[in-house]
Symmetry: C4
Subunit: 278 residues, 4 copies
Amino acid sequence: MGSFAGHALPGSFFLFVGLWWVIKSSLWHLTRRNKNTGSTRLPSRASQRRLEIIENSVIVFFSIVGILAEQFAANGPKLQLYDVSENHWKDMANWQHSTMYMFFGLAGAVSLIVHTTAAAPLPLDRLMLCLAFFNEGFLFLYHLHGRALLDIAVHQLLLYAVFGQALIAFLEVFYRGNVILELLRSALTMVQGSWFWQIGFVLYPPSGPKWDLTDHSSVMFVVMCFSWHLMFALVFTGLIYGAICSVVRARLKRTPPMEMGLLSKPRERDQESEDEVF
Amino acid sequence: MGSFAGHALPGSFFLFVGLWWVIKSSLWHLTRRNKNTGSTRLPSRASQRRLEIIENSVIVFFSIVGILAEQFAANGPKLQLYDVSENHWKDMANWQHSTMYMFFGLAGAVSLIVHTTAAAPLPLDRLMLCLAFFNEGFLFLYHLHGRALLDIAVHQLLLYAVFGQALIAFLEVFYRGNVILELLRSALTMVQGSWFWQIGFVLYPPSGPKWDLTDHSSVMFVVMCFSWHLMFALVFTGLIYGAICSVVRARLKRTPPMEMGLLSKPRERDQESEDEVF
Amino acid sequence: MGSFAGHALPGSFFLFVGLWWVIKSSLWHLTRRNKNTGSTRLPSRASQRRLEIIENSVIVFFSIVGILAEQFAANGPKLQLYDVSENHWKDMANWQHSTMYMFFGLAGAVSLIVHTTAAAPLPLDRLMLCLAFFNEGFLFLYHLHGRALLDIAVHQLLLYAVFGQALIAFLEVFYRGNVILELLRSALTMVQGSWFWQIGFVLYPPSGPKWDLTDHSSVMFVVMCFSWHLMFALVFTGLIYGAICSVVRARLKRTPPMEMGLLSKPRERDQESEDEVF
Amino acid sequence: MGSFAGHALPGSFFLFVGLWWVIKSSLWHLTRRNKNTGSTRLPSRASQRRLEIIENSVIVFFSIVGILAEQFAANGPKLQLYDVSENHWKDMANWQHSTMYMFFGLAGAVSLIVHTTAAAPLPLDRLMLCLAFFNEGFLFLYHLHGRALLDIAVHQLLLYAVFGQALIAFLEVFYRGNVILELLRSALTMVQGSWFWQIGFVLYPPSGPKWDLTDHSSVMFVVMCFSWHLMFALVFTGLIYGAICSVVRARLKRTPPMEMGLLSKPRERDQESEDEVF
């Protein structure tokens, strides 16, 4: 994947998924709180389930696309693992990326099963997400042998986001439906996405001079830059949450005042929700 | 244990135990959920307890066999710890393996006491399992001094599975009966088992050329290979769970329809279960 | 910031904040316990909210002051990030300190939103505090390249307090209103503050001889000294808690004896409190 | 403290404390379970509180003795911290040991306050215990500079027990009265005690030849030996628990059969207990 596009593509994908998760979590949390009043105008449980199915189908689809791209693009290994003639393993980087996509595809497929049948326990989708992120971080950990100082630094910083996502997803197995954890995971997903773009700009600048990959002051800059990505992702998450909050409230205002009294117990548990029981 | 058989034997044992735990956890979780309807056709609490006793007797038995094999096999230390004539410690590897078996034997013995008497607190079986896995990982950590690059790598990867099992077993002390944790622990046990086989094939290939133990691209391959073992274990766990799910449902369909209404509260807590209270 | 004042200023700020948090947590915990009796004489929910607003306004204000000081003080970068003429990054240390202040400012701003509107989920203030501390520690981690032995040691010790605060704040997302966690976080904040002063005295002694920055016995001394800072912070926290406890009790004694019977259920949950629900 | 006695003394103290904690936890857990029947013959809440006061007074007393011994024994620093004439820090090891004792003394003193007054929150005693153990491990971490291979190894192994105790004590802040955690903490305390003796025998053998402190096979032996200490501590803990269990049951058998029916709800929560609420 050693190219600008090879980092921009997964980056865009994670940015998009993160953005979508922020919208989904905010919408779901805010409508759940205000369920009693305006349920007819707000998304119901059936539409929530439909969203989950669409989301996970998209994830499975892009995982397969990713695997095919890694395997059959210009310099891909074309499903060959060992080069017998030269007696060494072929294109380990491509194979490792394929493995990452496979885990995300598996997580999506399990989520599809969880949300279409009643057979599997509900928190399984979060556990598979946790394992997919953990596996990504695990493979990146062993990916950095013999690279330049700055190259190692930018990939190590990525691991903060990746293992952070894995940790939050694991906590969600036990604290399902906790909006704080969901928003934090979404923000970290956006950080991962934007950081992939940043890696592309640092290692393969599309224009301008190359970076000096052995300069220590550049390492200090990218570390700080990672902080900024996190901050922008958090602020952006907050803005979306706020915008959705206003929209939901505006809709509710149009409900007859008689029903408004029910708003006084905003944190009441919604028994119909899919995400309640563990 | 430096031989193919020396890795294949514990590997087979862990594979078998992992497989058994998947079946037990799935069966128990699915019958607990459907308890109200078909309890007469599904395993009762007494049969569950009987299974635990058989399982732990087998674990204790194989632990003793393992200790004896390590001590009295061809090159074993035969319970001698210090070679006075040559002034150094004897066969540290065999002694460390014996110690690992002893901890698993102790965990099995404590489980037997927990499930046959009412004296010991129930979560003690999980804590002892946690300590047995932790001890295994702890001894392996100090086992790798002065080995070749690839040899160290394959054993370090094993530690992910071993410490993962210890962590999950510790969480089960607090979240007992959580099917997600039980299945994940079972899957990690299968990973440990299949990875022992993999180590055997890498370090002592029964046929074909030897691996180059200092080649870095081989390290990248085995890291990815560990991911694949985890993925296969997860998929396999899912398939068994699904199969048992179908069998349990098929049995329940034969119950008179009148009782079927009770299925509508599937996640209700089963007061009779041994695993409820902490 | 390489100066005595540059460490004494943030040190004083953290000392002050830690002290304030001890008072706030103690007062709030003790009045909550004794709510039923003397509520008219003790701070109400409205005054609690007012305090939160004042506190967070102060935090936001000082964060902005800190950023401006770092940027526009004598040798600051004046918002310039890259020195094109000399082809390197400018004043990375100042920029990193500015970033730390920005995160604390963001945490304060989010807290303001949480406590003035009903839109945001309550535990968000603790999560942002956790991220602000985590970010501080994260930037310090990469701050120490190429410094002297003792310089590295005193900054690494600071990380125990900083990451400790981040961990406790994260736990508070789940265990909100737990007085033990709140007091521990406050004590660690005071440790951070007093340790900043200590760093100032070690690296830039205002009087007397310079320290030998490469002496290993000095490292052993500062490690122990950090323990003492922690101990003094804990004892000091305890003394303040005890003092407030006496004051609250003295006030309650003046209530008519008839109501005193209600004191018998001291740990009862106070339904009106802002901090209850998650 | 570089002597056999200097390790045997704290070792004996920790062995004694661990043993006492096993007895206390077992007794308290078993009588709590059987409270309804034989409460008149079993320790009451008042006697539990009295035990806590005695226990913590003893801890405070021995901490003061430890500090005085470290300071005023033959080669102690006699409260002098800096040797102005030779321009270096005096007896850092003794001062660090004094600091450890001070933290344990503080933990004991806070426990005394918690159990004699109603002012302090109950879980504070566990938090202070956690901090005392953490501080011990923290100081040992920086204690090992420039020592021989085996000397470092035996002290590092000690850290597993010490940080393990700190972790368990921290968990007890949230899961107070959990007998599994209490027994594990007690067992780890015994491991710490017996390992101090082991360190004494390895580094300062009272008789026989000296150990070769640079031999790697000795490191492998002491690692395994640490496993054995843990195993013996666990088995010993189990035996004491079992013995107390028999005694408590024998006492209960002498109660009139009419009351025995109440035994059927053995895990019922005991409202009167000090350890219930948080």
